[in-house]
Symmetry: C2
C-alpha cells in the first residue's frame, strides 16, 4: 500500500492518509475497483489506531473517492468525472487555488514558473525527489 506518516508534516495523520490515497489513484497505482488495505491492517502497519485509519477512509468516502460496504473491503470508487464547468471546478478547488496563488506570489514566482512546478505533479504525481541539497 505504501503509505507512510511524515512526522514533519503538520497535518493530522488521517489527512496524510487521505492525501496519499488520492495521489496513488492519480499515479495509477490504485485504480477503480482496487481494494484498499483493511483498516486494522493499515493501522497496525503504521503503528496507529484503527479509528485514525477509519477516519481517513470516511473522509475519502465523503469525497466520493472510495466505496465502503459492511463486511467488504474498501474499494476505489468509479471516477466521478463530473464534467465540471470552470466555475464549478473552482467551487471545489477554490480555497486551494487562492492559497496557492497567494503563496506563490509571495515567493516571487511567475505564472509560468508556477505552471511548470504544477506540471511536475500533474504528469505522474511524483515530486522532484531531490533530497535536501541539489546541484544547480
Amino acid at each position: 500500500m505504501l503509505i507512510a506518516i511524515d512526522e514533519r508534516d503538520t497535518r493530522p495523520i488521517y489527512q496524510q492518509i487521505v492525501s496519499q490515497v488520492k495521489e496513488q489513484i492519480q499515479r495509477g497505482e490504485l485504480q477503480q475497483g482496487d481494494e484498499l488495505l483493511p483498516v486494522r491492517e493499515l493501522a497496525d502497519s503504521l503503528g496507529i489506531n484503527l479509528h485514525t485509519v477509519r477516519n481517513a477512509y470516511l473522509k475519502l468516502r465523503d469525497q466520493g473517492v472510495i466505496n465502503l460496504r459492511l463486511g467488504r473491503r474498501a474499494r476505489v470508487a468509479r471516477p466521478r468525472r463530473i464534467p465540471a464547468t470552470a466555475t464549478e471546478a473552482d467551487m471545489a478547488l477554490g480555497g486551494q487555488l487562492r492559497e496557492l496563488a497567494a503563496d506563490a506570489f509571495l515567493l516571487g514566482l511567475s505564472a509560468d514558473e508556477l505552471h511548470a512546478l504544477l506540471d511536475r505533479h500533474l504528469a505522474h504525481g511524483s515530486p522532484p525527489e531531490s533530497d535536501s541539497k541539489e546541484k544547480k
Copy 2:
C-alpha cells in the same frame, strides 16, 4: 481591511486571517510598508479575541510576510523575493501542489483546464466572475 470569517470554512480563524492577508497583498490591496489593523481593532471588528488575531499576525511574521515591532503597528514586510530554484520553490509549495494535482485529477480536470483555473487567481486574485458556457 476587509477581512471576514467564514463559518463554513473548517480552518481555524487565525488561519483564515493569514490567508486573507496574503491574498490582499497579492491583489495589491496591501503593499510593502502598509499598516495592518491593530490587533485589538481587528479583533473587535470581527467579534473575536485579541489573541486569535495576534496568533495570525505571529504566523505571518514567521513566514516573513509582515513585520512586528513593539509599540508600532504591524506592517507589510519587504518582499522576500528569494529567487528560489525550482526545487526550492517546490519545497515550500510541495504539499499544496501535490494535493491540488491529485484533487484536480480526481475531478477529471485536464492540465490545461487546471492551468486556466489557476490563472484566474494569479492575475489579480479575484475568483470567477465571468461565468458562461465554457468549452471543455
